[in-house]
């Protein structure tokens, strides 16, 4: 069952700029154009793209903060545009750069407010809070004023606050931004657990692709307001025409090795780096190199997902158009 439905959604902003003494120029900026996707209940989807690609705009539309200029949206069967407050009871939102917690009050007070604003029954509140306290290690932090928490502690606090009312959908906008490795891991483990246990649908935007690798079976890449890739992580390599690298240590320094299907990226004394398509097999290449030069050592490096995605943004060529093969229609 689709819990998030986005059909041909567009969103443009009018930017006014001073042009001359009195004149003002209006330019239309399209943050999102013709966006369509759907998310099945219980999915965990990574939503990535460069700055200004339209990620936050999408999240704002899905939470009812912004109204789309065109198209149709449904979240948990609710039209975010018309029923903002009703939708609010069924979703949880975490803005990585902005806290919903009360700065000068102990963490516990923010949760008490949530309990009353969302009218959460006592038993349910107790159960959800206990779970968050245990899994996120919030116990010692409950009586600490939020302003005294570290960034990582605050983020954990924020995530708990977004989950107390059992939302069906959880949006996370950059949930691991600025966190150290330990905090990141803790947040990731918690999200995986919540998703597995409660079946909460999660849509997360991030710049940290490890978040995606650890958590999301599905990734959507957005660029210039359009979905340019929607599918599994594996497919991303293909779509990004990614390359693996064969690193060979020769017995003696040699001129760049010429093997069909590869290109030499770098030469450093006896060591050479040969790039080849990620889909090709390394064995025949190794054989070809060994036939021409005595080999001392070799290794194969997998493509870094960052590079793959960077390549996608850089070249919106035909490879991207054909990559639009998501698991859902």
């Amino acid at each position: 069952m689709a819990i998030i439905e986005v059909e041909n959604v567009a969103r443009s902003f009018t930017v006014r700029r001073k042009a001359g003494r009195l004149r003002r120029e209006r330019t239309e900026v399209r943050a999102v154009e013709d966006l369509s996707f759907s998310v099945t209940a219980g999915e965990m989807v990574g939503y990535i793209g460069p700055n200004g690609a339209g990620k936050s705009t999408t999240i704002k539309m899905l939470t009812g903060i912004l109204v789309p200029s065109a198209g149709r949206l449904r979240v948990a069967g609710v039209d975010p545009q018309r029923d903002r407050t009703r939708l609010a009871r069924r979703i949880g939102v975490v803005f990585g750069q902005r806290t919903t917690l009360w700065w000068d009050l102990p963490l516990r007070d923010s949760y008490e407010l949530a309990r009353r604003i969302y009218r959460i029954e006592d038993a349910r509140y107790r159960r959800n809070l206990d779970r968050c306290i245990e899994l996120l290690g919030l116990g010692p932090l409950l009586d600490v004023p939020v302003r005294q928490l570290s960034l990582g502690q605050r983020m954990r606090g924020d995530i708990a606050a977004a989950l107390l009312h059992d939302p069906e959908v959880l949006y996370l906008d950059e949930p691991t931004i600025g966190l150290d490795v330990i905090s990141k891991n803790r947040v990731r483990e918690f999200l995986a657990e919540i998703n597995a246990e409660s079946g909460t649908t999660v849509l997360l935007t991030t710049h940290d692709l490890t978040d995606i690798e650890r958590l999301c079976s599905r990734v959507m890449v957005i660029d210039h307001g359009r979905v340019v890739y929607d599918g599994g992580l594996d497919g991303l390599h293909e779509a990004g025409r990614s390359e693996r690298t064969l690193v060979v240590d020769l017995a003696l320094p040699a001129p760049p090795i010429d093997v069909p299907g590869t290109r030499v990226v770098k030469v450093e004394g006896p060591r050479q780096w040969l790039a080849f398509p990620a889909s090709a097999s390394a064995a025949p290449l190794v054989a070809a190199v060994a036939a021409a030069h005595p080999l001392v050592d070799l290794s194969v490096r997998e493509p870094a997902i960052e590079d793959v995605i960077a390549r996608m943004y850089a070249s919106p060529g035909p490879a991207l158009a054909t990559a639009r093969s998501g698991p859902t229609g």
Partner: protein
């Protein structure tokens, strides 16, 4: 689809959200007790200085525009009391522009409660009661000095004056905040109407130019806060040449103005959500 809750339920929900959020701010302010007392006393002193100015004038004259010192004190007290109550209740709305600029309005919009209730309660601070207390004291003094024949009608008009005056000033705050969704630096314009208007209402209407008075009768209806009801309570003749029933029209004006401000707010919020900032 679920049924739409009625407007009574929605209003009660909004008041409940207001109470909850205001309560949070109250508790947060208790973290800074000293600062609370300093600003509360500071507020009272600043607004008391206005009255010192009036008192000094009366050292040199016995009447101002035909009004005696206790009568002017009545205007001063009612003006400060109503503005003070409105400021206490929804005064933070004049900082909405900042919330829009830093994006924290978004946090309000993802909570299941009316945005106006949440933003009205934003940074709720009892220290703003300083003006209310100080103005109330002056009003008490004025009433003790005025030879008023206290009929039930006069008492009722005085009570209505306080309620409607607060509603009118509160509506100015709401309407001003609506503009701040777009002109995020419009706070100054709004302050000139609220604080500037309140200062104006401290003095008798007879000292102002006719066009200005007309502006606050028919434009931003501040004259209905205290000038017009005061004519009735104090038993003064109307030198403005307005219909006699205007003295009792404050509730109607307050209702109309509050409705207009509410509609403006709704339109602004809708437009903010569809245009962004």
């Amino acid at each position: 689809m679920g049924e739409q809750p009625g407007s009574l339920v929605r209003t009660l929900d909004a008041l409940r959200a207001y109470r909850l959020i205001a309560g949070m701010w109250l508790r947060a302010s208790m973290a800074y007790r000293t600062s609370f007392w300093i600003t509360a006393v500071g507020n009272a002193v600043t607004s008391a200085l206005d009255f010192v100015v009036i008192a000094i004038m009366f050292l040199h004259t016995t009447a101002l525009g035909g009004w005696t010192l206790p009568q002017v004190a009545f205007l001063y007290g009612t003006s400060g009391l109503t503005l003070g109550l409105a400021d206490l209740l929804v005064g933070s709305l004049d900082q909405l522009g900042q919330r829009v600029r830093d994006g924290s309005v978004d946090v309000v919009l993802v909570r299941p409660a009316a945005a106006l209730a949440q933003l009205g309660a934003d940074r709720f601070a009892l220290r703003r009661a300083g003006r209310v207390v100080q103005s109330g004291l002056i009003l008490g003094w004025a009433l003790s000095r005025l030879p008023i024949d206290w009929t039930a009608g006069r008492l009722l008009v005085l009570l209505v004056l306080v309620v409607c005056g607060t509603v009118i000033f509160g509506s100015v705050f709401v309407a001003g905040a609506a503009f701040q969704f777009f002109a995020t630096d419009a706070a100054e314009v709004q302050n000139s109407v609220t604080y500037g208007g309140a200062t104006m209402l401290q003095y008798p209407p007879t000292i102002y130019a006719r066009d200005l008075v007309r502006g606050v009768v028919f434009g931003v209806p501040l004259a209905f806060v205290n000038w017009l009801p005061a004519l009735y309570v104090l038993g003064l003749p109307d030198t403005l040449g307005l219909p006699g029933w205007f003295r009792f029209a404050s509730p109607l004006v307050a209702l109309a103005f509050a409705t207009a401000a509410g509609l403006l707010w709704r339109a602004a919020l809708r437009s903010y959500r569809s245009t962004g900032s």
